[in-house]
Symmetry: C2
Subunit: 325 residues, 2 copies
């Protein structure tokens, strides 16, 4: 059975899994990214685990490895200056993998991988113009226009999280201030909470100390009607709406698909987001653009996206080959 | 001789001309847009003038008409809710022209037309990823990715001028606040001057009353070393740099080409713009992106762009036809 390996490297967790052509994840596993002091030690471990699994399952045939990672360069196979990873500089990630595998290794921005996942397996199968936004530790994005991912001249397009929405706003991991992801991400939610909780002794969030607060705890409090937690989601939605409205002015997508930890809050985020988005977006785009949460398998959209990247690479190659015959 | 007609409809002037396949403008003329109370009376006049010229020049053969206009919809051939035009609502502009001509009528956003002009005749002939920004009455933009214009799902992509760069900023013609074009455009320059001149009695701009101030007068004062005028350009460049840095984060172009009235200021704009851009853009894009002023024939880039639109339409059709044979 032919299978792709999909790997998603996140600021907190690195997940990998085996993905078949129908978009099912046959096996998956998670590692703590921060446990690995260098990128190549993470790759060593991943390669070992993938090879172990392949030797156990003798009928599994590896067709390629797709990797989604922050600040990944599609053209060069590198991860460069990723603000949410501890490894700094320019890392030749694809090269690290090529030491272990002969199959194609394709690396891209984690949100680009997710966008390809939506095109190959998800709700964007028939969309030529859509925007994928991942709300995890940071905010990632993948823009699809005319049915093609926008990689940009250097492979780094799709950094919506690092558009500045507030001059002199919050300090960002990228070294600047006011980036969208400092407000609209799991980290952004927590920063808002850390700022507001001390001022509100009536909130249930007051029971947690600063370092305990997480997007999940805030979402749970909001779901139980905590007014401050609801206000934090409202504020986050307002900021995200501005970032999305600006992105829409540039590429005019038909659909915006959200995924990542923060979207587990569901309507707590989606309802105020849709309201603020319609209030904020330019009139020519009003009531035209769907904002939805990804319907890909809850546990594995990141793996599916990265796996889809490898499958799509193979499909493009075979299309090219048959066109050449 | 085969010729395309290129028409550029601007908030102040409407220009049209005959463009040959080599990118030369053989004849051009300008009309004041505001003299025409309705869009169809402007089209009547344009059609009459084009037909007159064609009957004079018996060896001229019209191959098509390309039109660049603010808020133009490429798919529908309409101009919709253009903030800088006096005609409101949805105007079936291509249909107005079809009453007079059997040739293809192609309409797009004025900046998209300019981008196509750069691809067909200008400095972006070998670029697959670039951004065209027009600094006229408003701020228009055309994004080219993977060698294709980004039209978006509805034909309205490329509205960089209506990305919000300042929350609760200046009131914009689109009904919202803080749009980039309220700062970075001829109108934006004048608004800054109108705000600052009364507070600075030493500036030579103080000799003009509010309604006399224009981007040309401000540029002339800056060229002569007027400190306030230089400060106005510096401020405009800073705002434009932020808008461009945000756009770059999304599409990562190799080149940003500026054109339009404001760019006649040359280095007065370009020098502070490049400085602020490098300071503002995310580190992964620093020192990678060229910002240049269009090198297309000074008088006629808008006509060339619109003409290129008609020529490109014809080329695509003939490519499609020969591919089909």
């Amino acid at each position: 059975m032919k299978l792709a390996v999909g790997i998603d490297i996140g600021g907190t967790n690195t997940v990998f899994g085996f993905v078949n052509q129908a978009g099912n994840v046959l096996y998956n596993e998670s590692l703590k990214t921060k446990y690995f002091c260098t990128a190549d030690t993470l790759v060593d471990t991943l390669a070992k685990k993938i090879k172990e699994k392949l030797s156990e399952q003798t009928d599994w045939e590896l067709i390629g490895i797709g990797i989604g990672a922050p600040n990944a360069n599609y053209y060069k196979g590198t991860i460069e200056h990723a603000p949410n990873l501890d490894w700094k500089g320019i890392l030749p990630f694809a090269d690290y993998f090529k030491k272990y595998f002969d199959q194609p290794i394709i690396l891209t921005n984690d949100a680009n991988a997710a966008a390809i996942g939506e095109m190959v397996f998800g709700s964007a199968k028939s969309e030529k113009d859509f925007l994928m936004v991942t709300l995890g530790t940071g905010l990632g994005s993948g823009f699809v226009s005319n049915g093609e991912l926008i990689y940009g001249h250097d492979g780094f397009a799709g950094e919506l999280g690092h558009t500045i929405i507030e001059i002199n706003g919050r300090k960002c991991g990228c070294g600047r201030r006011g980036c969208l992801e400092t407000y609209a991400s799991a980290t952004g939610l927590v920063r808002t909470a850390q700022q507001w909780v001390p001022e509100d002794p009536y909130s249930t969030l007051h029971h947690y100390n600063k370092t305990e607060l997480s997007s999940r705890i805030i979402a749970e409090a909001a779901a139980e009607g905590d007014q401050l937690a609801l206000k934090i989601f409202d504020f986050t939605a307002e900021k995200l709406a501005l970032g999305l409205a600006n992105a829409v002015a540039i590429t005019s997508p038909k659909m915006i698909i959200l995924y990542g930890g923060v979207t587990q809050a569901g309507d707590l985020l989606l309802k105020p987001l849709r309201k603020y988005f319609e209030e904020t977006v330019q009139n020519i785009f009003q009531d035209k653009i769907q904002i939805v949460i990804s319907e890909l398998d809850d546990a594995n959209p990141a793996i599916l996206g990265a796996g889809a990247l490898a499958w799509k690479g193979l499909m493009n190659t075979s299309t090219a080959l048959s066109a050449g015959n």
